[in-house]
């Protein structure tokens, strides 16, 4: 049976590390009666939270995969898409954001808005995801939900409104006042499962009235009906809820809820809020790219009888075999249905269809538009779109950044080697920012990704999940080469060896390309180069640009303009023109003033103000540029741009410098020019390496 779309929610839970996301998720699962005992995170009982299904995650206490878990609350079906917290795993974050319709932003009542809160907020903004906020850990010393609400307004620029106020704080935290119903809520029973509703304690009455007024003021901006009712002094719960909902769905309002996941307080009202205020899938517009119409966009309908469009967003090798998580955007999915993978053109038949709960799954017969389910035994890659036959759509392409770091890996023995191949095959399917290839010169297996931690995690997973033990080399920055000046070429490739010769002449120029990696433009007139050989030239340029002459890294940012040439009726061939293109490029490359580019990371360091000076110094020692520093009393954040090559081992340096009190996040920003003295060094190293290789 498929669920009524209005009673469906696809939510993500986003947070800065350690805000209590895992704990909160665990509690949500518990209250929804899907699991029967609450486990602590980084489990004292050795079991760990249910969502963190992988050993590795448990050990590191971070959530890496985006498994989806289905729960039921108040007659609603809620799919919780676990969004990975660490910025290194950008693609997974982006992919889960694509799939969810709304989110809960979890903040710590002591830490408030932290660096990753800002990152996550930016991502929610980019994907236009409506959200509500939950201020957790009200039981902690220093808890101040009012200040955190202010930070959501000031630092993130949201119209944040408290929907509840706490009864007591820190160790005296006992319950909440719901500002909509104006009742006090207490959470009794060993696990907070019994909610006791009472009148607001007298000492809080004035504060509650004042905060309710503030709430109504902000909320009534989203409903004329409510505004009127407020003026008449009779706002009903329904009117308030409807107005909050409208504000949330249009991203103009962020209602703020409070509680303590750890102390089992405030979770059920948060679940009510998910049902009340977050949109159902039919309220979110989704678009797909029409592959038959040169990528024109098409708005999808949530009509269950329409043709099916679904996105495979996550692959998982579980104890049940291979699982493919998919979100249905249009139509429905039934056992036995035939679908086409629009990337590969392959047809598949829907076999077993399941809904995943935290640690169990339920077999289902069908699922409707808006739902998230999993398929068994489907061969595909993450990001593939499945359509009913006759439809050729792709869900909007997710931006895939180029990897910025690489690592040579070597299996310790033959067994490990086979298993490693299997693991790599799986990982590259799951994660398009994770890539692998064999270097033709050194014959080493190279893995590439978005950061040190990103690659570390995969190396660990190889060990644990595939028992593939590998040795790793030093991480290598993915440099690029680029030309900085226009240069003309006129090159003739001529070879006469007995019978058939080779002949091709090409004339044109190379130009630096501001944005983009490569462009080929054909301006040859009058058949000076026969049409069939133009693609050969293109191919030749592309091939030669894979390895630049400075340090052997790919050349990017080049526009090739082909203006003229010559051919020979017998001796010209595809290969001759390819060779000519390569020769031309090599001949003039140096004259185009090539430069070495390196990945520049956006780095954000947070910690107590007393260490700000030390942090400044570490950034400048690393050739970094400090963009800004923000000091808020005892807390400070430094935002900087630092070359990736200088960031190796930074976490250790930072830890020892600040007694572990500061932390940092980092994500790829752009490619920037390597300063001359370092470029020189890199070129020397490259020469040396080549010398060694030729001596082998």
């Amino acid at each position: 049976m498929s669920t009524d779309i209005a009673r469906m929610r696809n939510i993500g839970i986003s947070a800065h590390i350690d805000s209590g996301k895992t704990t909160l998720t665990e509690r949500i699962l518990f209250y929804c009666k899907k699991i029967h005992k609450i486990h602590e995170v980084k489990g004292k009982d050795g079991v760990g939270a249910t969502m963190d299904s992988m050993d590795l995650e448990r050990e590191r206490g971070i959530t890496i995969t985006s498994a989806t878990t289905n729960v039921e609350w108040a007659d609603h079906s809620i799919n919780i898409i676990d969004t990975p917290g660490h910025v290194d795993f950008t693609i997974e974050v982006e992919r889960s954001l694509r799939v969810l319709d709304s989110a809960i932003l979890v903040l710590c009542s002591v830490g408030g808005v932290q660096s990753q809160t800002i990152t996550v907020d930016r991502q929610l903004r980019r994907y236009n995801v409506p959200f509500i906020a939950f201020i957790n850990k009200l039981d902690r010393v220093g808890a101040n939900p009012f200040k955190v609400r202010e930070q959501i307004a000031d630092k993130l620029g949201h119209n944040a409104v408290l929907m509840q106020i706490p009864i007591g704080l820190e160790s005296a935290f006992r319950g909440l006042v719901d500002l909509v119903t104006m009742k006090a809520l207490y959470f009794d029973g060993p696990e907070g499962e019994d909610i006791r509703v009472e009148a607001i304690p007298a000492e809080l009455a004035a504060e509650a009235a004042e905060k309710r007024e503030e709430m109504l003021d902000a909320v009534s901006m989203h409903s004329d009906d409510l505004m009127e009712a407020v003026l008449e002094g009779r706002p009903t719960e329904e009117l308030v809820r409807a107005a909050v909902r409208r504000g949330v769905v249009t991203r103009k309002l962020v209602p703020v809820f409070v509680g303590s996941a750890y102390r089992n307080k405030g979770i059920q009202p948060l679940l009510d809020a998910v049902v009340h205020y977050l949109p159902n899938p039919s309220e979110v517009e989704n678009r797909a790219i029409d592959l038959d119409r040169e990528g024109a966009e098409r708005v999808l309908t949530d009509d269950a009888s329409a043709k099916t469009v679904a996105l495979a967003f996550k692959l998982e090798d579980g104890s049940y075999g291979q699982l493919t998580y998919i979100r249905i955007y249009q139509g429905s999915l039934r056992k036995g249905d035939e679908l086409v993978n629009t990337r590969s053109g392959q047809k598949i038949k829907v076999g077993r269809l399941v809904r995943m709960h935290a640690d169990t799954m339920a077999e289902i017969q069908e699922a409707g538009s808006g739902d998230i389910v999993a398929l068994f035994g489907v061969e595909c890659a993450s990001g593939d779109t499945f359509c009913s036959p006759g439809l050729n759509l792709a869900m909007t392409a997710i931006y895939v950044p180029e990897p910025v770091i690489s690592l040579a890996i070597e299996p310790v023995d033959k067994n490990a080697s086979d298993r490693m191949a299997k693991a790599l095959n799986r990982f590259t399917k799951e994660d398009p920012t994770f890539r692998t290839h064999v270097d033709p010169e050194s014959n080493e297996t190279i893995i590439q990704g978005m950061g040190e931690l990103h690659l570390d995690v995969y190396v660990e997973r190889m060990k644990r999940e595939y028992r593939a033990e590998v040795k790793t080399g030093m991480p290598q920055v993915a440099y690029r080469e680029a030309i900085s000046q226009k240069v003309d070429f006129d090159y003739t490739h001529k070879k006469q060896t007995g019978g058939s010769g080779q002949y091709a002449r090409i004339i044109g120029r190379l130009e630096p390309l501001g944005k983009g990696t490569y462009e080929f433009s054909n301006e040859v007139r009058g058949g000076r180069i026969p049409r069939e050989f133009i693609p050969s030239c293109d191919k030749g340029f592309k091939a030669v640009m894979k390895k630049g002459q400075l340090i052997g890294f790919p050349v990017t940012g080049v526009r090739v303009v082909l203006t003229d040439g010559q051919y020979h009726p017998v001796d010209s061939s595809d290969i001759a023109f390819q060779t000519a293109a390569q020769g031309a490029f090599r001949q003039v490359y140096a004259m185009a003033k090539p430069q070495i580019l390196e990945p520049i990371m956006k780095v954000s360091v947070e910690g107590p103000t007393e260490f700000a000076g030390n942090v400044f110094a570490t950034i400048s020692q690393r050739r970094g540029t400090i963009v800004s520093s923000v000091e808020d009393g005892t807390f400070s954040r430094v935002d900087a741009e630092v070359p990736l090559s200088e960031m190796f081992g930074y976490s250790m340096v930072l830890r020892s410098l600040t007694q572990g009190k500061a932390e940092f996040t980092m994500e790829f920003l752009k490619y920037g020019r390597v300063p001359p003295h370092i470029a020189e060094l890199l070129m020397e190293q490259h020469l040396e390496k080549k010398k060694k290789e030729s001596q082998k």
Partner: protein, 243 residues
């Protein structure tokens, strides 16, 4: 190519007029203050002063007491776009990226930040992080809350590190704001610490600059500058010349 355009931009900047009027510039170890009511354009002027230094490849530190920094960043972008519009400045974006590397924004929460702490962080930036700025602009310091002692600390600091420091001061009292020599009543207690004091006043739809104190001289003088209402850049006041 870009260089000469840049030199041209520097030479023709209306800020040269300002410098000429104040004996060649503010000068190391000195404190300059732009005073006006809220919303008249002090931040715009400070950013223009900073942008002018950046064009000359001189690093600057922008200290702000505002609650957010993203709008300051946008402000710089806008101002460079405006500056670059005048003559054709080639590859504006590249240049902007280069210029901006010489700017650090340091944001302090007003209530949380004591001047000692602000100066400590500034010193860390200049000395420990080796960010050799010679100009610091300070936007949004609440003079009434900080008091003359704090400004004195800034001045000592500027003297020790050889900095010139430009402040904005928001005038909040009721009219009249200025005495007959053009000195803002609210800033009288600071006068001996301030080396250059300029007031901004709204006349019709134009903002005029008058020089109230120029180092040792206390004589009000029209600076023949205005704030262009559309670009929010400091500009020559043509009408003033005609007068």
């Amino acid at each position: 190519m870009t260089l000469t355009v840049k030199e041209e931009l520097i030479k023709r900047s209306p800020l040269r007029i300002l410098e000429k009027s104040i004996s060649g510039g503010l000068g190391k170890g000195n404190i300059g203050v732009l005073a006006s009511r809220k919303g008249v354009g002090k931040t715009a002027c400070l950013v223009h002063i900073a942008a002018d230094k950046l064009l000359q490849d001189k690093p600057i530190i922008h200290v702000s007491y505002a609650s957010r920094v993203d709008h300051i960043i946008t402000w710089y972008e806008d101002i460079f776009k405006e500056i670059a519009k005048k003559p054709k400045m080639k590859s504006t974006l590249d240049t902007f990226d280069e210029l901006i590397r010489k700017r650090v924004i340091m944001n302090f929460k007003q209530d949380g930040a004591r001047t000692e702490q602000v100066l400590r962080s500034l010193e860390a930036m200049i000395v420990h992080a080796n960010f050799r700025a010679e100009t610091v602009i300070v936007d949004g310091l609440d003079f009434a809350q900080a008091g003359p002692e704090d400004l004195r600390k800034f001045k000592d600091f500027a003297g020790r590190l050889g900095l010139e420091v430009w402040f904005s001061a928001s005038l909040k009292k009721d009219d009249p704001l200025f005495d007959d020599r053009g000195i803002p009543f609210e800033l009288k207690g600071y006068l001996d610490i301030v080396d250059v004091l300029i007031s901004l006043q709204l006349h019709g739809d134009h903002v005029h600059f008058s020089l109230v104190k120029d180092h040792d001289r206390l004589a009000p003088k029209d600076l023949r500058l205005k704030l262009d209402p559309t670009t929010l850049l400091i500009a020559k006041d043509v009408r003033a010349r005609a007068r």
